[in-house]
Amino acid sequence: MMLMSTRHVLLGLLVSGPSHGYDLKRRHDERFPQARPLAYGQVYTTLQRLVRDGLAEVDGTDADGGPERTMYRSTTEGSHELARWAGEIAPPAPFVTNEIFAKVVVSILSGGDPEAYLKAQRAAHMKRMRELTAVKTAKGADLSTLLSADYALNHLDADLRWMTTTAARLTTLTAEVDTA
């Protein structure tokens, strides 16, 4: 299971009408501003796979004054696959393979300084949250930006809560060890 299915996202963007790879990449990056921008190579490879699997088909070419570009459109099968995917429950995945979690556990196991790490990581998280909040509250921010910033902020906030609880647990644990 992929964290975000580029295949289905591109299929979703094709629902509004035929489009070419360059336009799909541009619209993807606009709709998912906090996601990593798509590479052109990935867009074209994914489109070719969608065609191979019968989910999209070539819809002629469009020059529009520039270089000739292949247009793609979704097939009926593609629309059905998109509806199936959009309604499919995603596993409520706890992100226990997260780097922060791994570093804290390894630090505890190896006698490192997890509290110092947590403090510094917390400051970095807060800095990123301030940046995202500034993006979100800028006058004229569009819905995609709001949704994307909200999603990122809530996940960073979840990390922060875990870090705060862990720091408190470490303090309690240290106190217990010291008084033992």
Binding site: A116, K119, R122, M126, M129, R130, T137, D157, R161, T164
Partner: protein, 231 residues
């Protein structure tokens, strides 16, 4: 706006200690607020956040340490002068807005102006403008009990800012609100503070609310936690 590390602070607390009964709320806490800056004071329940706000706002006097406002020792000012300062230079918002339940939103916001000597007509006209800024002009004729929590809190913010204070103290201003109402209140506060150059000292336990600030001071057991990283 953040005025840089070297700017002279508008308000500064140094090594504050304060005990409530047998509980030591502050143990050497220090913090600075620069002109026009939005500063978040965060920490767990009982970490001393609200006590620090109360000391900085001149609501309570610290047992030890100093509070300086515009170069003057706030903690040594006589009560009469302190209360004049609180009315003129400071605005305060609490978790539950503490609006006067018998008055309409318009009269709640007009009240500080009337106490400062404005006529009822002038005060109401300016109050209306401030309700407009906070997007609650349509609720001007409602009493606090007839408004949603978010509308009441935006009215409280209008009341805190209507006199043109240099500093607004906000103690968990979104603590009783859902996430969207909280966002509306914070966005309104931040935009208005930035536009008017008002400094804000924001006490919150919520990281998403603290993220509206330029900077964060984190308290634990009544003292500031060094982060080791410049915010």
């Amino acid at each position: 706006m953040n005025n840089g590390e070297n700017a002279v602070p508008l308000l500064a607390a140094r090594d504050l200690a304060k005990t409530h009964g047998r509980t030591q709320a502050l143990r050497g806490a220090s913090a600075e607020l620069r002109a026009g800056e939005i500063l978040a004071v965060t920490g767990a329940s009982g970490s001393g956040k609200s006590t620090l706000l109360h000391c900085l706002a001149g609501i309570v006097r610290p047992d030890a340490g100093s509070v300086t406002y515009g170069g003057e020792r706030l903690d040594r000012l006589p009560e009469k002068r302190l209360s004049g300062l609180r009315r003129g230079d400071f605005g305060v918002v609490f978790q539950f807005g503490q609006l006067i339940p018998e008055l309409t939103a318009l009269d709640n916001v007009a009240l500080p102006l009337m106490l400062a000597g404005s006529s009822r007509g002038d005060a109401q006209a300016r109050a209306g403008e401030w309700l407009e800024r906070f997007g609650v002009r349509g609720q001007a004729g409602l009493r606090p009990g007839e408004m949603s929590g978010g509308q009441a809190q935006r009215t409280s913010l209008a009341r805190a800012l209507v006199t043109g204070p240099k500093v607004v103290f906000a103690d968990e201003p979104t603590g009783a609100l859902d996430s969207l109402a909280s966002e509306q209140v914070m966005t309104a506060l931040v935009h208005t503070a930035r536009d008017s150059g008002t400094a804000v000292l924001l006490v919150t336990h919520d990281a998403q609310v603290a993220a509206y600030a330029d900077r964060e001071v984190r308290l634990s057991d009544g003292a500031v936690v060094p982060t080791g990283v410049t915010a």
